[in-house]
Amino acid sequence: MVDGVHTFFKDGLRLDGRRKDELRPIKIKAGVLKRADGSCYLEHGGNKIMAAVYGPREVHPRHLQHPTRAIVRYRYNMASFSVDERKRPGPDRRSVEISKISREAMESVVLKEQFPKTVVDVFIEVLQSDAGTRAAGINAAAVAMADAGIPMKGLVTACAAGKISGEVVLDLCKEEDNYGEADMPIAIVPRTGEITMIQMDGHMTFDEFREGLELALKGCRQIYELQREALIERYKSGVEGEE
């Protein structure tokens, strides 16, 4: 749905001055919470995300336990104050879907056989929302899981491509997303280059889909470096705890 009044490009640049293949600014900090086994605070454009990981730990209720491996649970939640119009607390259908596909994006890298009968609980809280929250959540989740010492084949990185004013671009901001013609979040395991999540909502030709995929893959590779840096920074001076 394109609003004819809005123009999204001026002199080849987008509303916020970015080029079509540019990411919004990202800040990632690992190990920010004390009680959680692992945590991460992430900002991406206007998104503010807190991720916490507990586990591996005992599963309750017991019947959810798997005898030979750990299970992974993922809860994506938006705080009531995270959006312009207050969101009622609790999971809505959108959050349920996002939780499911995010869990599926992360599960395969966890070396689950090392912890039978336990659960790795991932909690994502969106404190401020600015389009692209599910990708931001996955990026924060991966860092929090590593921070918790969860054994994984590699990190998972996510990013979204989109389409505005007929142009395929990387990383839509909120204004672009509201009037955009397509939104395509993906998640990959940078170590192997494989895709663990892909969705498209909107209208795209096959060629536009391929263009978007390529842009999103490039975006993921950049974000991966930031995830690694955040973890290495946490122990750069070798000192744990207060900062």
Binding site: P56, L111, F115, P116, D147, G149, I150, M152, R191, G238
Partner: protein, 221 residues
């Protein structure tokens, strides 16, 4: 580790070697290459391994741990060993022959004991035994809980770090593999020892640590 060089921190998925090599914990081989599987410090001295910076304690046969009794059920004491898995101490593993009815006479719910991991089977059933140590219930001291990932550093090569702390703080200290540490001594000495241990935990992967800990202990005695 005190070689004066900053350690290399790696994250899961980092490439550690392009060629196959012997791997230890925290690393895995795929397509002939070695990758890190945990967030930690790279150690290439012998096998390629990554010493984790975080993570839960998973019991292994032979580990000596400090456990707290949470329940007495049939002929087992059930213990919390600071792990996602609880542990079982069967009555037959008590150093003397006792009757099931008398179990709480010897070890009560809430007691802290030192035990050795006898076996961990495929279903993560953890069995403990008391027959390998001088058994006693821990009382009249202080319990510290640290990340089990710091235990090797706290013990030090050949026990050097922990012996030094015991000596300089004049405390008896027992370090369980599961990250529980038992201190015994005069209150002010235990406080000193605890501070020294906290220092080791915080700065585990920095060079020159041993000297700094010795200096701290001597300055604050």
């Amino acid at each position: 580790m005190d070689a004066g060089k900053m350690p290399r921190i790696v994250v899961p998925g980092d490439l550690l070697s392009e060629e196959p090599a012997k791997v230890g914990e925290g690393a895995y081989i795929e397509d002939g290459k070695v990758y890190a599987s945990v967030y930690g410090v790279l150690d290439k001295k012998d096998r390629i391994r990554v010493i984790p910076l975080a993570g839960k304690y998973i019991p292994k046969r032979g580990d000596t741990v400090i456990g707290s009794v949470t329940e007495i059920s049939f002929s087992n004491w059930i213990l919390d060993i600071a792990s996602p898995y609880e542990a079982y101490l069967h009555i037959s593993e008590y150093p003397r022959r006792i009757e099931p009815g008398e179990m709480s006479k010897y070890i009560r719910v809430g007691d802290l004991i030192v035990a050795t991991v006898l076996d961990v089977d495929w279903s993560m059933m953890v069995e403990l035994t008391l027959r390998e140590n001088q058994f006693k219930v821990l009382r009249g001291g202080r319990l510290l809980e640290i990340s089990h990932t710091r235990v090797p550093r706290l013990i030090g090569r050949g026990g050097s770090m922990i012996s030094m702390i015991k000596r300089e703080s004049r405390c008896s200290i027992f370090v369980g593999q599961n990250g529980r540490v038992w201190l015994q001594g005069k209150p002010e000495n235990m406080k000193l020892a605890a501070q020294a241990i906290e220092m080791v935990v915080r700065e585990a992967h920095t060079p020159g640590l041993t000297n700094r800990v010795v200096e701290f202990l001597r300055a604050n005695r």
